[in-house]
Symmetry: C2
Subunit: 142 residues, 2 copies
DNA sequence: TTCCTATTGAAAATCTTTTTCAATTATAAA
DNA sequence: TTTATAATTGAAAAAGATTTTCAATAGGAA
């Protein structure tokens, strides 16, 4: 999914395509790691210096609402966002460089059924996230 | 693990046992759901009105450091804390009342090995969390 | 082009968390 | 018990993060 399709999605939902939004979309769409609002602001201002931090918050809010980005929870903090993957995927995060990789293929059904039986909960959602070192970061001294 | 053993643990690590700490420990130790610093403050002040919010933050910090409590991440926010379970356990959360239940018995090893092979990551940690409705909340109209 | 209103950025307001600091108090030593 | 000392406290200030307000601007339908 390219950056143009995000703009189309915004437009189709009645949101206007402004310079501020284009700048924010360009940055977060192309990032391999999760970015905080302030990081998005700093990067996007290189191309569009008039940008306000408020517009970054407002654009991230809309992108999240349209499921184009998602918040990433980490021990260090939970304010960063990354492009969403399509379909049911989970996150694998490099503890050193922050690179985000999506994976699929978890089969938690047996576990969920068993926990559900044991606890009498009606389970409807799950969060699974793996942490480690990416190939590059294993090479360079950790 | 009772609330007295938390005080012992604090003491054994060189921390003094003060009224403020006792009040915070009493509240968070006995809670079935994750509490924010402000919620701890409000509850604990009922028994000890001189308590300051700063001391709540400072005590939570120490309890987390000693692994007696842990931060709970939820869609609505990530500032709340709950007593830690012993051993390797994961969280099951009621989306309605917030009740926290720990479970074990996840076997993610095959998945982790497979993802590790596919991505060349050295995977060292995982977060797994289930969400649903507890028995009570299923009965009462959701 | 014109018109309407969604959107903007600056500034202020609000919330949350941390730091500073003088007074107090837990604890170990006498 | 009393004393000495350093950890701890709560108030206040500071720092940070996010949201709200508002007058000016600019996107896009007509
Ligand atoms: Mn899954
Ligand atoms: Mn989180
Ligand atoms: Zn890495
Ligand atoms: Zn419930």
């Amino acid at each position: 999914m390219n950056s143009k399709s995000w703009l189309t999605a915004l437009s189709e939902h009645g949101y206007r395509l402004t310079e501020a939004r284009r700048a924010v979309v360009a940055i977060i769409h192309s990032s391999q790691r999760a970015l905080t609002p302030l990081e998005v602001y700093d990067s996007a201002r290189l191309a569009y210096p008039e940008l306000g931090l408020v517009s970054v918050y407002r654009t991230l809010e809309k992108l999240e609402e349209l499921n184009l980005i998602q918040r990433v929870h980490q021990p260090a903090g939970c304010q960063a966002f990354i492009s969403s993957a399509e379909g049911h995927k989970h996150l694998l995060l490099c503890k050193r460089c922050g690179q985000v990789t999506f994976f699929e293929g978890d089969d938690l059904e047996p576990l969920i059924k068993s926990i559900s039986r044991r606890t009498n909960y009606a389970i409807s959602e799950h969060w699974l996230q793996l942490f480690g070192l990416c190939e590059n970061c294993q090479k360079s001294g950790s």
